[in-house]
Amino acid sequence: MSEATGGPLLNETYDDKIVKAFTLATLVFGLVAFIVGLLAALQLAYWPFNFNLEWLTFGRIRPLHTNAAIFAFAGNAIFAGIYHSSQRLLKTRMFNDTLSWAHFWGWQAIILAAAISLPLGFSQSKEYAELEWPIDIAITVVWVIFAVNFFGTLIRRREKHMYVAIWFYIATIITVAVLHIFNSLEVPVGMMQSYPVWAGIQDALVQWWYGHNAVAFFLTTPFLGLMYYYVPKASGRPIYSYRLSIIHFWALVFIYIWAGPHHLLNTALPDWAQTLGMVFSLMLWAPSWGGMINGLLTLRGAWHLLRTDPIVKFLITAVTFYGMSTFEGPLLSIKSVSSLAHYTDWIIGHVHGGALGWNGFLTFGMLYFLIPKLWNTKLYSMKLATTHFWIGLTGILLYYISMMASGLTQGLMWQAINDKGQLIYPDFVQTVTEIVPLYWVRAAGGLLFIAGFLIMLYNVYMTIQSAPAEEKAEAVTAPVHPKDGRHTGDGGHRKLEGMVITFSILSFLAIAVGSVIEIYPTLSLHKYIDKNAMVEPWTPLEQAGRDIYVKEGCYVCHSQMIRKLPFDVIRFGEASTIEESIYNRPFQWGSKRTGPDLARVGGKYPHLWHLRHMNNPRDLVEASLMPRYPWLEKKKIDFYSLRRKFSVMQSLGVPYGDETVANADKIAEEEAITLAAELTKEIQAAGGSVPENLERTQITALIAYLQALGQKGKK
């Protein structure tokens, strides 16, 4: 039915080898991501699940889990689906096989680098952008390879118009490139360490512009593209509404990019940016549901498949989860709802409704559909796939409900104030102890999800075993030049669907508007800064301590942002200001309070308290679930690199004098000697034994940093 104008016919085979490779990688890394997630879940229920190993502490495992789930599992799934569906939708083989394989191996190498570097503590401690600069560069290169390969395929396509799935792929490729590059602008200060060019509030805004749109353009738009291909393919039904596709695509792409600041509600971020984040999030509700409607109603007239076909079960349940998450998201973006839910497990539940339900189930449905096709055989067992579905679904529901309950419980406990104007639960740990049972339930949910996945692996293995020995590549015959859309009298959007470059430019502009309007004003920070409230930058030893805090990933459990909310202020002290984090590279406002906020912890405890607490938190707070960090008493401070770091900081605009920069290491050494002496006195008075080389070990730098938190603004 496609317009068969345009010259001689060409017969060509599709490259399904690359699809197979991405498919297998999806399965392998899915298993890794899920198991690491389970480990992280268990650690919150019972901290010794980190086996007292530095590499397995929660601060390092959580980034490993999120990166594996997003970039390794979902990433490979997206690539498998895009390589498979694009060739068929565009009636052509991929542009260049070498680029395809460079993309594949490059991406796997990045995953490997992440899997090694994150547990070792090489982290920028910015969520989903933790990977250090050499890996960031590799990601850029591989993404460009992918883009060239994809756009090359578009150019040589032999189908005049681009189907809606392709629109979503285009938006994905363009936007992820923009997000990654801008959020990764950083200056190396070592082989595996860097400081972002953005600081404090700028870094916060750019990070969450990135972070939210990683969800939007890595976990939503590409999966919508996959939905638009695999739901009609698996159900044999036509897409419900072409018109809806157009409207919801453009609305989604234009509006999504604005929503980032909803991660920073009630914080020091200027009010107007928070308002934009909130109202654009609300406006996202309908465009998101446009996708859901189109997915669900495609099944009109074939609802029985939902009962009989496990593939359709997975796909349609995924779309339902998408609908739930995209309703919950705008809800959570309302400032007052956020004041309850932010920093709690509700957000974790929200994310996993999306990740397990939408991304996970859509991937599973797609793979059950794809694998028999790729290996030219039948699925080994439909029944096992159905079993997988039910076990997985139970797992997700347990996960979601327990985290929602945990979030509400903790959020309400944090807020509770009695008629004497006092917190009803002043003791933070009490609000943690309360939710630990729910952490066990969550872990059980995760375990079920994995059990289902193991069944899938078995099913896939048996399927591939039954594949015929010789491979048979699917081929397509199509005219060479059907794509000349300008001359066929198409009008409106239909015409645009024949114009790759114009379409891509428009997509770019759609995401550029919101990005520029939100980020640009924040870069000219002087408007928001109160000159009288400026703070001193970190001293060399404090900065060394801060780098340790960043390396250990303390931000996964601790916020450093007291919101403009009464119960935050009563519990943690005055609301945090923009000025206080103005020199912080990276910003460490955090997004989750498994432990208390640390923005003003400086001076709250004696040095000795911190020494003992970091060595074993349970010595001081019996119910604590914070990991032990005894190795900080052994590892040496890296004084040597401080001069380089300070000169980078100075060049980025931190007001350090030349003297300070030139002597940063010496100054730090002196500070360490002073602090170690104070600490030694406290230890001796308490009758304890003094750890060796206190003035050179990391714990001293970390204590210097902790004691300075919130103290800088005080005159």
Binding site: R88, Y163, D271, V279, G290, D309, G603, K604, A685, A686
Partner: protein
């Protein structure tokens, strides 16, 4: 699985293009969906005008200030209503074994990490001797230090963190430790008060 795409239903809304067997219908946008979309847009604009453009709505800082003032007045009222803490009242608690037991439990939970399980002193000073840095050995003085702390020296202010009644119990419990001479006691700090 059903990939027999040739059996797509004939529907007047079916468009005449096809991609790899996928057909598209062209149903109109659902009315409730469009309405929702417009409502969120209109709400967004009004919200933005109210809170940002016109400055009519309060800023976050103004709202915080208002809330804090309210809490402050609750606290002032509670302070005015609270009975005076007297030496006699506290001394009576020291004799009340129930109160002392409760105080001990709270001490173990909140204070032992810094003052030792038996009050022998650790990060904070020994609480079992007659030497005091910040108080004069009276029960009222003890109560006061627990309430207000010595924040700059690392002794937290416990007001608001421990309910008022329990603070009294804790003070009574500490007083009961006087002269208990626990092992590993930290050396004397401060002035001797007999």
């Amino acid at each position: 699985m059903n990939d027999d795409n040739k059996t797509t239903p004939s529907d007047p809304l079916l468009l005449n293009h096809e991609y790899d067997g996928i057909r598209e219908l062209d149903y109109p946008l659902p009315g409730w969906w469009l309405t929702t979309f417009f409502i969120t847009i209109i709400f967004g604009i009004i919200y933005w005008i109210h809170y940002d453009l016109s400055g009519a709505g309060p800023t976050l800082s103004q709202e915080l200030e208002k809330d804090m003032a309210q809490i402050e007045s609750l606290r002032n009222k509670a302070a005015a209503d609270a009975p005076q803490v007297t030496e006699e009242a506290l001394a009576a608690l020291v004799q009340n074994s129930d109160a002392v037991t409760k105080g001990q439990a709270e001490y173990m939970a909140k204070c032992a990490a810094c003052h030792g399980n038996a009050g022998e002193g650790l990060i904070g000073p020994n609480l079992t001797d007659k030497y005091w840095k910040n108080t004069d050995g009276t029960l009222v003085g003890m109560h006061k230090i627990v309430v207000h702390g010595v924040v700059e020296k690392g002794m937290p202010a416990w007001k608001g963190l421990i309910p008022d009644n329990l603070i009294k119990n804790v003070a009574a419990y500490i007083h009961s430790l006087q002269g208990s001479n626990p092992p590993n006691a930290k050396g004397a700090e401060g002035t001797l008060y007999e």
